[in-house]
């Protein structure tokens, strides 16, 4: 998907993550997390897997993680991407590209 606009999804509450996505050249990933030492690699893998699945190749992605589970990270990244494309409100391909 082509990132045209900046978009944010998620909150800074415990067990959540706030994901900001902006237009960019190539993938630029910035992760802040209170559990970066323990889970940094897993968080990065989950975010990258989701971006790859959505075929996002050019974007600046900032993740502020507050101890989110993988399924929450996925949900926040997907929502931010769909919001940036203005497609988040309906006809989401549940079980297709969103899985």
């Amino acid at each position: 998907m082509l990132i045209k606009n900046s978009a944010v999804a998620g909150t800074l509450e415990s067990s959540d993550a706030q994901v900001t996505i902006e237009p960019g050249n190539g993938l630029e990933l910035n992760i802040q997390s209170s559990v970066l030492n323990q889970y940094g690699r897993q968080i990065k893998a989950a975010v990258l897997e989701t971006l790859n699945r959505l075929e996002v190749t050019n974007a600046k992605v900032t993740v502020i993680d507050k101890g989110a589970l993988d399924c929450t990270l996925k949900a926040r990244v997907e929502c931010a991407v769909y919001r940036s494309c203005d497609q988040s409100a309906s006809n989401i391909p549940w079980g297709g590209i969103i899985k």
Binding site: A9, G10, E13, S14, S15, D16, A68, L69, D70, C71, T72, K74, A75, R76, E78, C79, Y82, R83, S88, A89, S90, N91, I92, W94, G95, I98, K99
Partner: protein, 303 residues
């Protein structure tokens, strides 16, 4: 990916705990509290500009979190909003056990949701008829049409009154003793029992007033409700205790069930147990109590 067992219309639902679908901290471990059902909310708990995010969050929770024996229902947005159709799609795609229709006022609204559910089951390859429905009655019109609503679809598991909106529409405040909703509760119960579906009372909003809460739960049980909506885990234990049959009820029910067959074989219709006259309806009720005791985990006999 989690595959949930096929939903059971008649299962035990003493407590239905509301959870905001938009809050990962809440929904990730909602099953540990032991409520019979949880209701993941897409409606009032979710801000208008977060409806989309709540659906993504809900989808992955349904697919990745093992809620075990806890039933997972989803409250969708009202039919007068632009959100409800996508809500139905995500519920069905995620494999939710059922959908709670908010602000249900007539059978036509049930039909509209049922159509969308069936379309979604076909779209996502979910077994047709799997997704259950229940109606939240929140207005005088909803109560007046309760029987039509609960008989509008084979998927209907039951109905619940929603006190907040209902009291506002009646220009009344919550009262000790529940006089302000007595007729509505009663009428809804009649409709549900006439239709053979379950019936649930509204949540008690003042979490710190345990005494008021307990009085309401006891009254709910006396009136014949199957269960209650709750908003805090600390409300679960008292409801479960109150709705489970007592030891005395179980012993009596056992005696009835054992005695009845022998009497019937002997060609006797009406007879007495412990000095009380009983007949066939008592036997049916005794079987219900044994089944309820089993479901509540308080039956240790061999029937």
């Amino acid at each position: 990916m989690i595959q949930r067992p096929k939903p059971d219309k008649k299962r035990l639902r003493r407590t239905m705990m509301f959870m905001n679908s938009q809050k990962p901290g809440l929904i990730k471990d909602a099953y540990i509290y032991g409520s019979d059902s949880i209701i993941l909310d897409l409606e009032d708990a979710v801000a208008e500009n977060q409806k989309d995010a709540a659906r993504f969050s809900l989808y992955h929770a349904l697919k990745n979190i093992d809620y075990g024996d806890t039933e997972v229902l989803v409250r969708i947005n009202g039919l007068d909003t632009p959100h409800w159709q996508e809500d139905v799609r995500v519920c069905v795609a995620g494999g939710a056990d059922g959908i709670r229709i908010a602000k249900c006022e007539n059978a036509e609204m049930v039909h509209q949701v049922e159509e969308a559910v069936l379309a979604a089951e076909r779209e996502f390859g979910v077994e047709e008829g799997r997704t259950l429905l229940m109606a939240a009655l929140e207005s005088p019109m909803g109560i007046m049409n309760a029987y039509d609503i609960v008989t509008a679809s084979d998927r209907m598991l039951g109905c619940a009154i929603s006190g907040g909106d209902f009291r506002k529409s009646m220009h009344v405040q919550i009262q000790r003793g529940g006089v302000e909703m007595m007729v509505a509760r009663g009428q809804m119960l009649l409709a549900a029992r006439a239709a053979g579906v379950q019936c649930f009372d509204t949540m008690f909003p003042n979490i710190d007033d345990m005494e008021g809460f307990q009085a309401e739960v006891i009254q709910n049980h006396q009136m014949g409700f199957d269960g209650k909506s709750i908003v805090n885990p600390k409300q679960i234990a008292f409801v479960h205790e109150t709705f489970a049959p007592t030891e005395k009820e179980i012993v009596y029910a056992e005696k009835l069930v054992r005695g009845c067959q022998a009497q019937a074989d002997a060609g006797i219709g009406v007879y007495t147990v412990d000095g009380k006259m009983v007949d066939i309806p008592f036997f049916e009720d005794a079987k219900r109590i044994i089944a309820l005791a089993k479901a509540c985990g308080v039956y240790h006999g061999d029937l």
